[in-house]
C-alpha cells in the first residue's frame, strides 16, 4: 500500500497546476463568485474550457494518442480532475461525449468510427448529447420505444427522448433505438450516432425545479443517420451501452470528492456565521456531530476513489461494485444539502444570509442533490443492482 505518486506523476501535477494558474484567470466567467446563472453564459464558458484544455494538451488524458488523446494513464486523469475540482475550474460542455461516448467508441467502435469521431470530440468541435431515456421508460430504460429502420443506406429514426441534457448545444447525439420490434425487451436495440443539425430533430427545453433549463426533450421525426453510424452490431446496443457505464464511473470520483469538499467548506463557513443558542452553529454539538458525519462520508468517497484507481491500474477493469458509488455519493450529497439548510436555519429560504438564492453553493447542493438520486438510475434501482449483481440475491423477474 502506497499512496504516493511517482516523480513523473508529481511533475504532471505541477504542469496541471501551472496550466490552471495560467488559464483560469482568462475564463469568460473569471472573477465572479460561483457559476453564472445565465445558461448561455455557462455554455460559453463550457465551450471555452473544452477548447482550452485541448490546446494545452489535457484532453483525453488516458486515451490513445493515435486518436488525439494524450496516451497517459488513469492516474494522470485523476490528478487532472482533482486539481480542476480543487480550483473550481469550469465544467466542459462535452461531458457526455468524454464521459460516455468516447469510452464507448474506444471499446466498441470500429476503427473508422474512432478515426472519425474521437478527435473532434476532444477538440470540443463536436459536442455530444445522450438519447437514452424516454417519457414512458424512466428507470426502465430497456422499455424504450423509439425506433430506427434501415431505409436504403440510412437509419430513419422516430420517437422521443427526454432528460437529454445539453441537447440544445449538441452537434451529435448517441441514441438507443429499437431496431427489431419483435425481439425481447433487451434485445433488438441498437446504439446509433445521429447528427443533431437536421430537420427531423426538434429540441425543446425542460425546466427543472431550480427554474433552470438543463434538460431537453428531443423529438425524432424521420431523423436520419448513415447506415455505418451504428456502434457494435445491429441489435446489440443494450450491451454496448452498458459495458462502459461502470467502467467510467470510477475515475471521476476523486474529482467529485474535491467538489464536495468545497461545498463542505462553504457549509462550515455558514456554521461559523450562523448564531444560535450555543454561540454559533459550529459550536453546537448537534451540528458538530452532523458536520463530522458528512465530512467523514466525503473523506471516504475519496478513499473509494483511491480504491477504484488501484483496481483500474491492477486489472484495468472495475467490478460491478462500482455501481455502488453513485448510490453512495448521491445519498451523501442529499444529507450534505439537508444539513446545510438546517444550518442556515431561519435563513434557509434565502441563500447565504439575505443574498439571492441562485448564487449560493449550498442551495445549489441542496436542490441539485435531489436530481442525483433520481437520474442515471434512481437510488432504488442502484440498490437492486447491488443486491442482485453484487450480492447475488434472487432476481425479481420483473426487472
Amino acid at each position: 500500500m502506497d499512496l504516493s505518486f511517482s516523480p513523473e506523476q508529481e511533475a504532471f501535477r505541477t504542469r496541471v497546476q501551472e496550466f490552471l494558474a495560467e488559464v483560469l484567470p482568462k475564463s469568460p466567467g473569471a472573477g465572479r463568485r460561483g457559476l453564472p446563472r445565465d445558461p448561455a453564459e455557462q455554455a460559453e464558458i463550457g465551450r471555452w474550457w473544452e477548447k482550452t484544455i485541448w490546446e494545452h494538451g489535457f484532453a483525453g488524458i488516458s486515451w490513445p494518442q493515435e486518436y488525439g488523446g494524450q496516451g497517459l494513464t488513469w492516474v494522470e486523469q485523476v490528478i487532472f480532475s482533482e486539481e480542476c475540482a480543487r480550483l473550481n475550474a469550469p465544467q466542459g460542455l462535452n461531458g457526455l461525449g468524454k464521459g460516455l461516448l468516447g469510452p464507448t467508441l474506444l471499446v466498441e467502435g470500429s476503427e473508422a468510427q474512432k478515426q472519425r469521431f474521437i478527435r473532434p470530440l476532444l477538440m470540443g468541435e463536436e459536442i455530444w448529447c445522450q438519447g437514452y431515456s424516454e417519457p414512458n421508460a424512466g428507470s426502465d430504460l430497456a422499455s424504450l420505444r423509439s425506433r430506427a429502420e434501415l431505409v436504403g443506406d440510412e437509419w430513419v429514426i422516430n420517437g422521443q427522448k427526454i432528460w437529454t441534457s445539453g441537447a440544445h448545444h449538441a452537434d451529435w447525439c448517441f441514441v438507443l433505438a429499437r431496431t427489431d420490434p419483435d425481439a425481447p425487451k433487451h434485445r433488438g436495440i441498437s446504439f446509433l450516432l445521429v447528427p443533431m443539425h437536421q430537420p427531423g430533430i426538434k429540441v425543446e427545453p425542460l425546466v427543472q425545479l431550480t427554474g433552470q433549463a438543463g434538460f431537453n426533450s428531443v423529438t425524432f421525426d424521420d431523423a436520419r443517420t448513415p447506415k455505418e453510424n451504428v456502434v457494435g452490431s445491429v441489435n446489440d446496443g443494450w450491451r454496448v451501452a452498458n459495458t462502459v457505464l461502470s467502467f467510467e464511473r470510477g475515475p471521476t470520483i476523486v474529482g467529485r470528492y474535491a467538489g464536495y469538499m468545497r461545498e463542505m467548506e462553504a457549509l462550515m463557513d455558514a456554521a461559523e456565521a450562523m448564531p444560535g443558542p450555543y454561540g454559533t452553529a459550529s459550536r453546537d454539538s448537534h451540528f458538530r456531530q452532523r458536520m463530522m458525519e458528512v465530512w467523514t462520508e466525503i473523506q471516504i468517497l475519496r478513499l473509494h476513489g483511491y480504491n477504484v484507481i488501484t483496481q483500474l491500474q491492477q486489472k484495468n477493469r472495475m467490478g460491478p461494485e462500482a455501481s455502488m458509488l453513485k448510490l453512495y455519493y448521491s445519498e451523501m450529497h442529499k444529507r450534505l444539502g439537508d444539513l446545510a439548510m438546517d444550518i442556515l436555519g431561519p435563513d434557509m429560504p434565502f441563500s447565504q444570509g439575505l443574498e439571492s438564492l441562485g448564487g449560493g453553493v449550498l442551495h445549489r447542493a441542496f436542490l441539485g442533490a435531489r436530481a442525483e438520486t433520481i437520474f442515471a438510475g434512481t437510488s432504488q434501482i442502484q440498490r437492486n443492482v447491488i443486491a442482485e449483481r453484487v450480492l447475488g440475491l434472487p432476481r425479481d423477474e420483473r426487472h
Binding site: 431515456s133 414512458n136 421508460a137 424512466g138 428507470s139 426502465d140 422499455s143 427526454i162 432528460w163 425542460l206 425546466v207 427543472q208 425545479l209 427554474g211 434538460f215 450562523m274 448564531p275 444560535g276 443558542p277 448537534h286 439537508d338 439548510m341 438546517d342 442556515l344 436555519g345 431561519p346 435563513d347 434557509m348 429560504p349 434565502f350 444570509g353 439575505l354 439571492s356 438564492l357 441562485g358 442551495h363 435531489r370 436530481a371 438520486t373 433520481i374 437520474f375 434512481t378 437510488s379 432504488q380 440498490r383 420483473r398 426487472h399
Partner: protein
C-alpha cells in the same frame, strides 16, 4: 373523551377547501412565483365574502369569534391548496387585535380586515435575531415615537396594509407591539428572492418610522407571545396540509405510473416509503390537533405542545415532500410538475417561526432543564 374535530369544524374546512381549490391551487401559487405578493390582494374579495378573514373577530366587527382550534382545519386547507395568501398572519392579527387592542384600534382595523379592505401581516423576523423582541427599537424624540431597525422574513410585506411589529422601547415603557402601515414614510421594504415563491418574504427596514400613540399595543410580551403561538399552530397545520396533499397525489401517481411492466406502487421500496410517510402525516395530524386544543384552552403546557407540533410537522413535511419528488422520478424534478411547489412550501414553512432544531432546543429547556431544577 372526544379527540376529534366537530362536525361544524369539518364543514367549515370543506367549504374553505372548495373555495381555495377554486381561487388557489398550483395555478395561483405559480402566479405568485411570477408576480409576487400582489396576488394575495386579488384573493381578498372572495375570502372576505366567505367570511374567512374575520374568523377570530367578535361579532361586533362582523367576525365569527372562532378559536384557533375552530380554524385549524382551514389552515390545513390552505396548505393543501398552496394558497398564496397570509392566512395565518391575518388570523393572528385578528386574534391579537380582537383580544388586546384598544377600542379605537379595533374600530380602525377589524372591520377592514373582515371586509378584505386591509391586508394584514406580521413581522415575524428571522435570521440571527430569532422571533423575539430584537431588531426594532423605538426612540421617543420630541414626544414622537420613532422606529428604527429591521425585521426579516415578513410574509407578503410589500402587498400588506398593516404590519404587527414587536418593538423594544429604549426610552421607557418596555415592550410593545406596533401597528405599522408599510406604505408610510420611514419604511423600506425589499422583497427577498426566496425558495418558496408562493409566499413572498421581505426584509422590512424601519428608518425612523413615526408611530402614533394609537398604533401602540403595550403589554408587548403577552401580545407577541400569543401571536407567535397562534402563528406556530397555523404554520404547523398548513405544513400538514401541504404534506397530505402531495402525499395523496404521490400515492395516486405510483398507482398508475408503470415501470418494468408494473405500477411502481407495487414495488416494496415504494410501498415502504409510502407507509412511513403515512405514519408521519398521521402523527403530525394528532400532534397538531392537540396543539390547537391546548392553545385554545390556554393550557400552561400549550407552548411546549405547540413547539412540538410545529417541529414535528416541519420535519414531517420536509421529508414527505422530499419523498414525493423522489417517488415521482424525473418528472418530480421538473418545474411543470407541481411537486416542487409543495416541496418548497414545506421547507419554507419549516424554517419560519422556529426551525425544528431550534424548537427542540427550546423544548429541551422546558423538559430536560426544568426537570433538573425541579430536583
Amino acid at each position: 373523551m372526544d379527540f376529534n374535530y366537530s362536525q361544524e369544524q369539518y364543514l367549515m374546512q370543506d367549504s374553505a377547501l372548495a373555495l381555495f381549490r377554486e381561487i388557489g391551487g398550483p395555478p395561483a401559487a405559480r402566479r405568485a412565483y411570477a408576480e409576487g405578493a400582489g396576488v394575495a390582494r386579488t384573493l381578498l374579495p372572495r375570502l372576505a365574502e366567505q367570511g374567512l378573514l374575520g374568523g377570530p373577530l367578535s361579532g361586533d366587527f362582523g367576525g365569527s369569534e372562532l378559536s384557533v382550534l375552530d380554524f385549524a382545519l382551514v389552515f390545513e386547507a390552505a396548505g393543501r391548496t398552496l394558497l398564496p395568501f397570509p392566512l395565518a398572519e391575518t388570523f393572528v392579527a385578528g386574534t391579537v387585535l380582537n383580544a388586546l387592542a384598544s377600542d379605537g384600534q379595533k374600530h380602525r382595523h377589524l372591520e377592514n380586515i373582515n371586509a378584505g379592505q386591509t391586508l394584514a401581516s406580521v413581522a415575524w423576523g428571522a435570521t440571527d435575531k430569532g422571533v423575539g423582541f430584537t431588531g426594532v427599537e423605538a426612540l421617543t424624540e420630541g414626544g414622537v415615537m420613532r422606529l428604527y431597525g429591521r425585521r426579516t422574513g415578513v410574509p407578503f410585506a410589500d402587498a400588506a396594509d398593516l404590519l404587527l411589529v414587536p418593538v423594544e422601547s429604549k426610552t421607557g415603557g418596555g415592550r410593545l407591539v406596533a401597528l405599522v402601515n408599510p406604505h408610510r414614510d420611514g419604511m423600506a421594504i425589499r422583497r427577498l428572492e426566496s425558495l418558496d415563491g408562493s409566499a413572498p418574504l421581505s426584509v422590512v427596514d424601519f428608518q425612523g418610522y413615526e408611530l402614533a400613540d394609537d398604533d401602540q399595543i403595550w403589554d408587548g410580551e403577552p401580545t407577541w407571545t400569543l401571536s407567535v403561538n397562534i402563528g406556530r399552530v397555523a404554520y404547523a397545520q398548513e405544513a400538514l396540509g401541504v404534506a397530505e396533499q402531495v402525499f395523496a397525489e404521490t400515492v395516486e401517481y405510483v398507482k398508475v405510473r408503470e415501470q418494468f411492466g408494473f405500477p411502481v406502487g407495487r414495488f416494496q421500496a415504494v410501498k415502504h416509503t409510502a407507509a412511513d410517510d403515512f405514519l408521519l402525516v398521521e402523527s403530525a395530524r394528532v400532534a397538531n390537533r392537540y396543539a390547537a386544543l391546548m392553545a385554545t384552552e390556554a393550557s400552561v403546557d400549550a407552548p411546549l405542545h405547540i413547539m412540538m407540533a410545529k417541529a414535528y410537522s416541519g420535519d414531517m413535511a420536509r421529508r414527505v415532500t422530499s419523498d414525493a419528488i423522489q417517488l415521482h422520478g424525473g418528472i418530480g424534478y421538473t418545474w411543470d410538475a407541481d411537486v416542487h411547489l409543495f416541496f418548497k412550501r414545506a421547507w419554507r414553512l419549516a424554517s419560519q417561526l422556529g426551525t425544528p432544531v431550534a424548537l427542540r432546543e427550546e423544548m429541551a429547556a422546558r423538559v430536560i432543564d426544568a426537570r433538573r431544577h425541579a430536583g
